[in-house]
């Protein structure tokens, strides 16, 4: 095949894939814009009839619920989680990369143990622990819980990134009279920026979408995050499907923005190996 045809084929495949993969999102948008009566039919409209489109659901969302509070809470928790995760993961990743002892590596691997505990059972002990130290019903408890879940993977991600930064650099710096810590902070860290960016995005997404802890560790409506707040559109007897979808779509806005802004950083950040 000529290169031209290969390229066209490639584009066709990409678009086909995107259409299939993003179809559910399209459907969510339609659910927010059309009444169920039209959407839930044996011949659903793949193209929405323009006359039936209404943005009522979106207005209702803001009318009915304190979406602003939700967004603020989610942002606080996410920001806190990102900072904590980046700090811990960077430090741990560096250690895992530099330490040559098998014991240490095994210990690092054991970080994954945290992810083995079923969330259902983890929630009660966590609830009690946070209660005991007075962090009951605070956003801080969510930050901590999220960080605990994120750090294992993030640490290993950073590790693989640090692996590609030769130790000679630090050696050279030490030979020049830098302390070990200084070498780490001024030489290695800046080079690890893309990795840090990757961990930041990864923890942002996980923390923004976290549900299990957010709904159990927080009581009252002051600390509700977006993910928990969404469920309130499902009432006891019926659900406001349109508003649910509208609110849900609005909630991914910040994340999509983050993607767009940090996409280049993200891709180069996750390179586990050669750095171009």
């Amino acid at each position: 095949m000529t290169p031209r045809r290969v390229r066209v084929l490639r584009y066709v495949l990409i678009f086909a894939l995107i259409i299939i993969l993003l179809f559910p999102v399209y459907w969510m948008v339609l659910t927010a814009l059309l009444p169920t009566r039209i959407l839930l039919s044996p011949t659903p409209p793949l193209v929405p009839p323009l006359t039936a489109i209404s943005f009522d659901s979106f207005w209702r969302v803001f009318e009915l619920r304190p979406v602003g509070t939700w967004l603020a809470n989610s942002t606080i928790v996410t920001a806190g989680t990102v900072v904590a995760s980046v700090v811990l993961a960077t430090m741990a990743g560096y250690s895992l990369s530099r330490l040559a002892s098998r014991f240490a590596l095994a210990v690092g691997y054991s970080l994954f143990l945290v992810r083995l505990i079923p969330a259902t059972l983890l929630v009660i002990p966590l609830f009690m622990m946070f209660g005991a130290i007075g962090l009951n019903n605070t956003l801080r408890s969510l930050v901590i819980a999220n960080t605990v879940i994120i750090v294992p993977f993030a640490a290993w991600l950073m590790k693989s990134f640090f692996d590609s930064i030769p130790v000679e650099l630090e050696e050279a710096a030490q030979a020049d009279g830098c302390s070990r810590l200084r070498a780490f902070v001024s030489i290695v860290l800046p080079l690890a920026r893309p990795g840090i960016g990757a961990v930041a995005i990864f923890s942002a997404i996980l923390s923004w979408g976290e549900f299990t802890f957010a709904r159990t560790l927080i009581q009252g409506d002051a600390g509700v995050t977006v993910t928990v707040g969404l469920v309130s559109f499902v009432g006891e007897y019926t659900a406001d499907w349109g508003a649910l979808m509208a609110a849900g779509l609005l909630s991914i806005g910040p994340m999509v923005l983050l993607f767009i802004l940090l996409e280049p950083l993200l891709i180069s950040g996750l390179t586990s190996g050669a750095v171009k």
Partner: protein, 319 residues
């Protein structure tokens, strides 16, 4: 420019990474106090948040009697009865079977989709930045609306998926995906893979970045087919990341229950009851915390065995 490239990660046919210079460095350079200190906070945090919960869960699992009250757990008698019950109950093994199917299918599905999308989006294409952003959109979609959307999309009477499938001629009659025990698991896998694939795409795409186009050129000039190119150029470069992605996806899908619960609650008649869902049911529907805890311990034991088995592979790849 000062080179940081070091060695390419491109390995020859899966052999161990070449010439890692670290092994020749003095131990003092590597195992410095600083390194241990930097690891300490993470380990400490993990210890605190693993140790107490595991202690509580194991303690619960060894107690006789049904209770929902943590404060009276200490008064109950110690017993291994819960473990006996768990291990002899056929529901446990059914749940394990379903968990295995669910987890493996999710991992395979996510890696395949991730690989496919990563390969397609690797090249320099105009608009690549937007395409890559679009592909990742399922990732931040909240589980609450993803489950609702899929329930309606896959509905037996009014679902658009049935409509499309019939239109295209793939099926004759509507499939009630979540209603029919035979199709319920497949139905639940769809939103799961959908949410899980973007992470794989991201990771695979990133490590594909490190493969220079020249290698592909060279391979093509040598007459390699697409399949051979994949095996000899692509795969060696991404295998590490792929393994990591599979581990993370596997761990997540093994322990997650929100998705399945929101869609089918483990039904119909247990067809989608994974271990995670079973634990939830025991704790919050049957109000038998000790039993649930025992089931939880068994689940963790299975998962850590698998994880341990994978450790040598991970060690080989990453070190």
């Amino acid at each position: 420019m000062a080179t940081l490239t070091g060695k390419h990660d491109i390995e020859q046919d899966g052999g161990p990474p070449q010439g890692r210079s670290r092994r020749r460095l003095s131990l003092s350079a590597r195992n410095s106090v600083l390194s241990y200190l930097l690891l300490a906070p993470s380990i400490a945090m993990a210890l605190v948040f693993i140790a107490f919960p595991i202690y509580m869960i194991v303690n619960l699992s060894l107690r006789d009697g049904r209770t929902m009250l943590m404060s009276e757990v200490g008064d109950l008698q110690l017993t291994l009865g819960n473990y006996i019950d768990v291990l002899t109950d056929s529901e446990t093994w059914d749940a394990l079977r379903i968990s295995v199917i669910y987890t493996s299918a999710t991992v395979v599905g996510a890696i395949l989709v991730g690989m496919g999308t990563a390969l397609l989006l690797r090249r320099q294409l105009p608009g690549r930045r937007w395409l890559r952003t679009f592909i990742l959109i399922p990732w931040p979609i909240p589980g609450a609306i993803a489950t609702v959307a899929f329930v309606w999309m896959l509905d037996g009477t009014y679902g658009v998926v049935n409509f499309l499938l019939r239109h295209v001629g793939l099926i004759d009659e509507n499939i009630a995906w979540f209603f029919n025990p035979d199709t319920a698991l497949i139905g639940v896998l769809m939103p799961t893979v959908w949410i899980a694939y973007p992470l794989c795409t991201l990771m695979l795409l990133a490590s594909l970045q490190s493969v220079p186009d020249e290698l592909y050129e060279a391979a093509r000039m040598d007459g390699a087919s697409a399949g051979q190119q994949f095996r000899h150029v692509t795969w060696p470069a991404v295998q590490n990341t792929a393994v990591l992605a599979m581990i993370v996806t596997g761990l997540w899908s093994f322990t997650t229950f929100d998705f399945i619960y929101a869609i089918t609650r483990g039904g119909p008649d247990g067809a989608t009851q994974t271990l995670a869902v079973a634990i939830y049911n025991q704790a919050f529907r049957f109000f038998d915390l000790p039993y649930a805890a025992a089931l939880g311990v068994v689940t963790m034991a299975i998962a850590s065995t698998v994880l341990l088995a994978l450790f040598p592979i991970v060690r080989r790849r990453f070190f």
